[in-house]
């Protein structure tokens, strides 16, 4: 079978789905190809946070705020329940070093427009039971929320289909169609798709496909392991992150000399509870190639860390563990835009640990750049060519 489209999208994760929806809604003829099924990659093996406080003050936070604004009414817009809830979130502060980093972080975030403050341990205990006694306090923002990543992805997919998009699952993309140096679509297990624009949204696997074009992308798979407990009555209020995560992500130099296993595995607490009651306890940040296995040492370190910060968790039962591959980039920002010297190729990948939170705005940016030649705001920081020597 041979198909033609305005846009061929590679990848049925949350990013590909969000873009498919926006382009189809704008009247473009869209074909999306996913090699397995929706949410088969990182999107199906992740946490559920739309966490704003964890974003670097600057364009990163601004995009997260704009994405969050879209989430407020997205169930209605998509006519699909995505289980988005804005319950607020906190980041634990364990020592003076974290207090200094978080105070500075929060001050800068306020200037971008985030409602965030530092609260005492006693105040924090009113919002979350079971917190450790040694905490100095927490940051708190009422704007943090969470969303069900499966439902979000399916919501985008269904809405895209309503606007005429052709969505193919079980359709592996093998490579690109080229015509006098220009990318003219994709070759897939379900036939060729000829398209004016080809959107590479294959998450951590994007570099594998880019390589067939001799294009070296700076994206690397970064494994995250995560633990899931039995469903229990509401226990986690909003989302809870640890200051370690922020320090590890934005000030790696502080931890550079650490010999601790937890630091080496990039363990930082991420705690949230689903509507059904399961508690998700994350996570590691490790470079392990495309290895999707869970490791014993990581599970133990994740749980040790979680029960150190929230001892109240200790008596819950673990029912499952999983691992996903986040698409890492060196500066923590995704690559969104047209690729230089590869005419016809648009990339939207590299959201590392923020792809769920940034999915809504990524679709809007992609639509702007593809349909109007410009986004609603300056997105030059996301330029996929920014790492070119």
């Amino acid at each position: 079978m041979s198909m033609t489209a305005d846009a061929a999208i590679i990848g049925g994760g949350v990013i590909g789905a969000s873009i498919a929806y926006r382009l189809a809604k704008a009247g473009k003829k869209v074909v999306l190809c996913e090699r397995y099924d929706f949410a088969a990659g990182a999107t199906g093996s992740c946490d559920q946070c739309v966490f704003l406080q964890s974003k670097n003050p600057g364009i990163h936070l601004k995009l997260a705020l704009d994405s969050s604004a879209i989430f407020q009414d997205l169930s209605k817009e998509l006519d699909y329940t995505i289980d988005y809830f804005k319950h607020g979130g906190m980041i634990t502060i364990e020592n003076e070093m974290e207090m200094a980093v978080m105070s500075d972080f929060a001050e800068k975030q306020k200037k971008i427009g985030l409602d965030v403050e530092i609260i005492s341990r006693a105040e924090a205990a009113k919002r979350q039971r079971g917190l450790a006694g040694h905490l100095l306090g927490c940051t708190y923002s009422p704007q943090d929320g969470h969303v069900n990543p499966f439902k979000l992805t399916l919501g985008f997919v269904k809405a895209a289909q309503k606007h005429g998009a052709l969505i193919l699952i079980d359709a592996e993309v093998f490579g690109f169609k080229l015509e006098s140096g220009r990318i003219k679509g994709i070759k897939t297990s379900k036939g060729d798709v000829e398209a004016g624009v080809t959107v590479l949204a294959a998450g951590a696997w994007s570099p594998v496909l880019a390589k067939t074009l001799d294009l070296a992308l700076p994206i690397k798979p970064r494994r995250g392991q995560i633990v899931i407990t039995e469903p229990v009555a509401p226990y986690v209020t909003g989302n809870l992150l640890s200051g370690q995560y922020i320090v590890a992500k934005y000030h790696p130099e502080i931890l550079a000399d650490s010999k601790s296993l937890a630091v080496r595995l990039g363990v930082g607490l991420s705690l949230t509870q689903t509507s059904k009651g399961d508690i998700l306890i994350g996570a590691t940040r490790e470079f392990a190639g495309y290895d999707l296995r869970n490791t014993r040492e990581a599970i133990r370190e994740i749980l040790k860390n979680a029960s150190r910060l929230v001892p109240g968790l200790e008596d819950l039962h673990v029912i499952r563990v999983m691992a996903g591959l986040r698409p890492y980039t060196p500066d923590g920002l995704p690559l969104v835009g047209f690729v230089k010297d590869r005419e016809g190729l648009f990339i939207a990948a590299g959201h590392e640990g923020d792809g769920i939170a940034l999915s809504a705005i990524t679709g809007v940016i992609a639509r702007g750049l593809i349909c109007d030649g410009k986004a609603y705001t300056d997105v030059s920081a996301l330029d996929p060519n920014r790492f070119d020597a």
């Binding site: 397995y36 099924d37 699952i169 029912i319 499952r320 563990v321």
Partner: protein, 93 residues
């Protein structure tokens, strides 16, 4: 088909997913146990699919040749244990 008593039985007891809902997921394009899971949450319950996985596989097999069906991704652990047991360092995950 809809509304027949047979379709109202629970295939996944933990998550209370009926036969009818599983059939709807298959009609929606699910080709794998995981595909059924993301659409219905079947298999995500306390027993982690131990009861329902085989039944769902059978239902999929009726729509697709078995050789076409990806094996489900079964997530460890094999039994549930308290968080305390992991952090105490007992090596029996």
């Amino acid at each position: 088909m809809t509304g027949s008593p047979e379709n109202e039985i629970y295939i996944c007891r933990c998550e209370e997913v009926t036969r009818e809902e599983i059939l709807a997921a298959i009609a929606d394009g699910a080709t794998t146990v995981k595909g059924v899971k993301i659409r219905t949450e079947a298999g995500m319950g306390l027993c982690q699919g131990r009861t329902c996985r085989r039944l769902i596989s059978q239902m999929l097999a009726r729509t697709r040749p078995p050789s076409d069906i990806y094996p489900p991704t079964i997530r460890t652990p094999v039994r549930t244990a308290k968080i305390r047991e992991y952090t105490n360092g007992e090596d029996d995950l």
